[in-house]
Structures are given as structure tokens and as C-alpha cells.
Symmetry: C3
Subunit: 256 residues, 3 copies
């Protein structure tokens, strides 16, 4: 399996394209991670707008260059119908989109059904932690929003799910794995602080959408994860706790 | 056109009044900008309460000394009816209020209708970016929540809209312009980091409401924009990225 | 009355237990305080999940080791029925839970009724500021979310309310007071920056739930308040404004 890092030329070119094109990224996300997600997108040069205000889910996904739908947006005044409308609008307009099925499989079937229904609208990228990926593939989920598996335990599941769904699937963990069903690559790096800062996973879903605006789904997912891992590593090296890490991480994203 | 900066005695006196009176400011805002908006108000000495919990929109605007309504609160479990109730309650109680019509004109007519309906309840100040001000005046809007125009392109529109609506209108940009229809002033300053940090515009709407509690709408809007520009400039001078800018900005607001 | 500080061995042992067990804490909270609340829990080693997505209020409180319900979650797409369902689910499963009746008594009877109805599901800990505690005991409330009383003015009310409700009651202020109706203790410390940073009170509600996962309600409330006061004092000593305080506070929680 290939390992891809910040030394990769394609990743750097993709980031330069985001900064140059400043794509409009529309997202539905939860209120815990919204601020960090918007700041991560702005730090990379994208222009975010979030939320399901009246008429937005029917129009903004069509005008956007990339869309992401975070399942936990269902706790933020977005209804299942609005999530499905946003996904359908993106699909109809040809806007590539990212599905982040937060906490799928964690014990709430009504919620899981919405996540499964979204798959019909063909996300380009599906990202999650190891328990979420395992649950989507029919296995057991985790506890709340946290994974009870390590990413290395689901590498085969990632490739199989990508093949089955015809999408790029990415799993986060100490090492991230990304597959389109044919190729699977590893992205190391990041920081031990990352799982201890809320919203880092959700924000990564947003960042995937920014790269979808400038390249194909596989390269987009790889670039998003590499940029994230590199900024996380740099931020971790100069942080004195989880609070200062969150600040340094956005700084590093803005300076990459 | 006059230019007003932090050297202005009236601005400083108005800030001192906010710190001394600690006015209760009630707002409806979105979940991306809520945290920064509350911290900006607290940093200046005001006491914020946000949101549309049961009964709040019918009572809190009457007890508050200033109110702000951010259109994107419609993505945060506040209904159009609750926004209108908050505006009507403020109007009936004589509480001055600020309208921030985020993303008006960006392509969602159902949303735009709510923004227009709010005007009937006579906001004292309307603030937005150049595309939002242009859209309110009948022109084309921007893309998502970002402006596709520079503030300098809408100076005449600002004055005309203020005259037409009988309100103070303020537009944000590299230079801010504020008009009551008769006088128009320019407020320079701020930082290039500001448009790259989420919620800076929305928080400015909240800060306008804090100054409405202590002075007339024109002076309130001027003071809010000057204080914002000065804190932004100071924070920008000592920040190493967009993450540290957001922190330094609140620090500077708290220390002005 | 005894005074308890970070020198206390039981408090340190309880914090060590949270870090070791990493309890899953489920909460309903508002969108202003959600980010800080999640980061405070993560900084102490707990695993948070928040919000009322479909099915979550009926299942997550049963799987969690501690639950907290913040009244202002009613402004965040959680309905009164969902708050009551979360409380009932926690009660039925034997999961101890914290009630934080934000702004109760501040002038919205419809909201206050929900807070009172929640008491029937037997919270283990009730926390608030002095005005909220006074309002729950039948007195006058404050203005918005801020207290108009000092914590020292309600020490007797805290003890009486604890006895009446059969719960631990804790009031925040320059000195915090905690009572189970029989014993009342004082927790000094913290920082003058704390009431000037949004969400510090709400996050304390979340932290109480983390300690409920590892010890009895009285010791849990004491440990939560002492840890908070100690981290606040350390953060205050090295902060240059309210923005940097918020960051340093999370750092200190993560390093205690």
C-alpha cells in the first residue's frame, strides 16, 4: 500500500487550486463542529456557507462547487427531508458531495435510516471513523460519536465498501486509509491532540468537499487527509494543551 | 466624506458607557457565529442571551436594552415566525434593534422574503456586506454568505437605502461605510485576517446592538464599526494565522 | 462550612478515574456553549456526544455513563418532549444526570415550565447561577442568562433546595457552594475572566456529568467545581484577555 504525505506534488497542486479558485462550499453540519469547520475551510481559501435556512437546501447545493452533509446536522434544525433535499439537489446539479455519517450504528435506528437513505444520492466521498465505516458495511457501531475500533482494523472494509458503493471511502485514525475500491493508500501524521479536540473529524468532512471542487474524488480525499495530517503534526509540535492545539491547527491550515 | 477612527472622543465615550451600563443584549443568531458573537459582547462589557427557546422571543426583546436579528438564525431552530415575533416585540417595547440579513439575495427566495418582512418592524440599524446591501436595494446578491462586490462599490446604495428605509445602513469591507441617508462616514482599519475568520460579520451585528443600548443609531453604528476595526487592526498586528487572530481579536476587544 | 480545593485527595482521585475510564457523556446543550462544553469534556478524558438527532434522546442516555441537560438546548432544535425523553431515559436506565436550568425565572413562563417538569425525572445534580437557584426555589430570577445576585446571597437557598428536591444543588459565583441538604461546602478559586467568557457556566454542567460517571453526586459536584476553579485560576494567571483565557482554560483542563 502506498503512503502519501505532504511531500506529494499532486497534493500541493490541489491545495494551490483551492486557494486560487476559492470555491463556494455548502454544508449541513452540527452546532458543535460548525465553527471549526467554517474556519478550516476559510483557512484553506474556500468560501463556506452552512445550514438549512428556508430555501437553502433547494438552491445552495446547485450553486456550490462542493457540498458536505454531516449526519449530526440532524441535531441542528435540519430535518431528514432537508438533508435528502440537499443531497438530491447536489446530485441533480452535478455538484460532488461528501457524506459524513457521524455516529451511524451507535444505537439509534431512526438516525441510521437517514444515513442509509442518503447513499442513494451518490456521495463522491464517504468519510468517518473506524466504527462508522464498519457500521455502514453492516458491522457493529461505536459508542456515541467515538470509535471503538482502530483504523487499521478496517482497511479491508474500507476498500470493500468503496467498491460496493462506487464511492471513495476514507477512514480516520492514527493512520488514515483511503480507497476507491481499486487503490488504497495510507496517510500517516496528525497529532495525538486531534481526537481530544471536538469537531476535528467533522471539519475534515468539510475540507474533503473543498478539494472535491478542484479535483477528482480520490485525489480530493487524499489531499484533504494529507493537508489535515500535516497541519495537525505542525500544530501538535507547538501546542501546550488541547485548547492551544485547536488554535494552532487553524493557524497551520491557513499558512500551509 | 468624513473618516472616523479610534481617535474619536464620542466613540470612546460610547464604549465607556457600554462597559459601565453592561446592557442586556438579546439576539437571534446562527450556530456558526454564536460563540464569537457572545464573546465579543462579553468582551465589551455587555450581557448577551441568544436564541429562541419557548417564550423567549415574546419576552426577552422587551427586557433587553438592544436586540439583534441575524437572518441565518433561521438555520438554528428559530422559525420565521419567531424572528418576526422578536422584531415585533422589540418594536412594541421601544427596544432598538439591528437587522443582519446574511446571504439575502444569494438565491433562496423563501429566505429573502423573511428578511424583507422583518423590515416592517423598523430596525434601527441594518448591516451587511456589499452584496447583501445591494440585494436589499433591489440589485443582485452574492454567492452564499460572501460578497462578490467591494464595499466601495455600494457607497451610494448605502445612503439611498438608509434614506428609503429610515434606518442607519452600514456596509462592511476593507473600508466600512455608514449612512443615515443624510450623513455618510467611512471607517477604515481592521485586518486582512477578518474575512478569513468565520462569524466576524455576524458578531459585528451583535456589537452594533450593544452600542444601540447607550446612544443613537448613527453613533452606535459608527462606534461599533470603529471599535471592531481598531481591535481587528491590533489583533492582526500580532497574529500568526487565522486561528490566533480570532483569539487575539477577542482579547483586544476585552482590553480596548 | 468546609472549603474544598485542588489539594483535596478525593478530587484528584475522581479526576484520575475520569481519565482512566473515559466515560461516554451524553448531553443536550445550546449552540453557544456546545463547542467549549465538548472540549472541556475531552480535555478531562471523557467522550462526549451531544444533541437530539432522531432517536438519540431515546437511546443515548441509556448507553451513557452520565447525562446533562442544559435548558437552553431548547434554542438548539431540541424540543421540550426530547428533553423530557432524555431525562426519562436516563432515569429509567439508572444513568445519573445533571440539570442546568439556564435563565429559569428570567421572564419566560413557557420555558420555566419545561425546567420544572424536568425535576420529576430526578436529576442527581442541579447547577446554576444564584438567580437561577433562587428562581427554582420560588424567588425572583435574573436578567437573560446572567445572575443579578451573588452566590453568597443564596447559600441557605442552596441547602434548602437540595433538601427539598433530594438532589445535590450547586451554585456558581466568585465562590461556589454545593449542598446535598445536609452538608454544604464552599469552593473558592476560578478567575475574574470566567463570567466574561461565554459558555463557562454551561460547560461546568457538562463536567459535572463526567464526574457523576465515577462517583456519588455530592463528590461529583465538588470535584467538578474544584477542577474548574483550579483550571480557571491557572488560566487566569497567564491570560492577556478573554480570548486567550478561553484557550488557556481548556489547556489547563487538559493538563490537570
Amino acid at each position: 500500500m502506498d503512503t502519501i504525505t505532504w511531500a506529494d506534488e499532486t497534493v500541493r497542486a490541489d491545495l494551490a487550486a483551492v486557494r486560487e479558485q476559492s470555491p463556494f462550499i455548502y454544508g449541513l453540519t452540527n452546532f458543535v463542529a460548525a465553527n471549526l469547520s467554517a474556519n478550516a475551510l476559510l483557512a484553506l481559501g474556500a468560501g463556506p456557507a452552512f445550514g438549512a435556512a428556508p430555501g437553502w437546501t433547494a438552491s445552495f447545493p446547485a450553486g456550490a462547487s462542493g457540498v458536505f452533509i454531516n449526519g449530526a446536522s440532524l441535531m441542528s434544525a435540519a430535518t431528514p427531508e432537508q438533508l435528502l433535499e440537499a443531497a438530491a439537489t447536489a446530485q441533480a446539479a452535478g455538484t460532488p458531495w461528501v457524506l459524513d455519517p457521524v455516529a451511524v450504528g451507535a444505537g439509534a435506528p431512526a438516525y441510521d435510516e437517514v444515513m442509509t437513505a442518503l447513499l442513494a444520492h451518490k456521495p463522491s466521498i464517504i468519510r468517518g471513523n473506524a466504527s462508522e465505516v464498519a457500521a455502514l458495511a453492516g458491522g457493529a457501531g461505536g459508542s456515541g460519536v467515538d470509535s471503538t475500533l482502530d483504523s487499521s482494523e478496517v482497511v479491508d472494509v474500507v476498500a470493500q465498501l468503496a467498491s460496493q458503493l462506487g464511492a471513495v471511502v476514507a477512514v480516520s485514525g492514527p493512520v488514515d486509509y483511503i480507497s476507491d475500491g481499486t487503490r488504497t493508500v495510507a496517510v500517516p501524521g496528525g497529532s495525538a491532540f486531534m481526537p481530544r479536540v471536538t469537531g476535528t473529524g467533522c471539519s475534515l468532512g468539510a475540507v474533503n468537499a473543498a478539494f472535491l471542487a478542484v479535483t477528482n474524488p480520490f485525489d480530493a480525499a487524499v489531499a484533504a487527509h494529507v493537508v489535515y495530517a500535516e497541519a495537525g503534526e505542525r500544530a501538535g509540535a507547538r501546542s501546550t494543551g488541547t485548547g492551544s492545539f485547536a488554535v494552532a491547527f487553524v493557524d497551520e491550515l491557513s499558512n500551509l
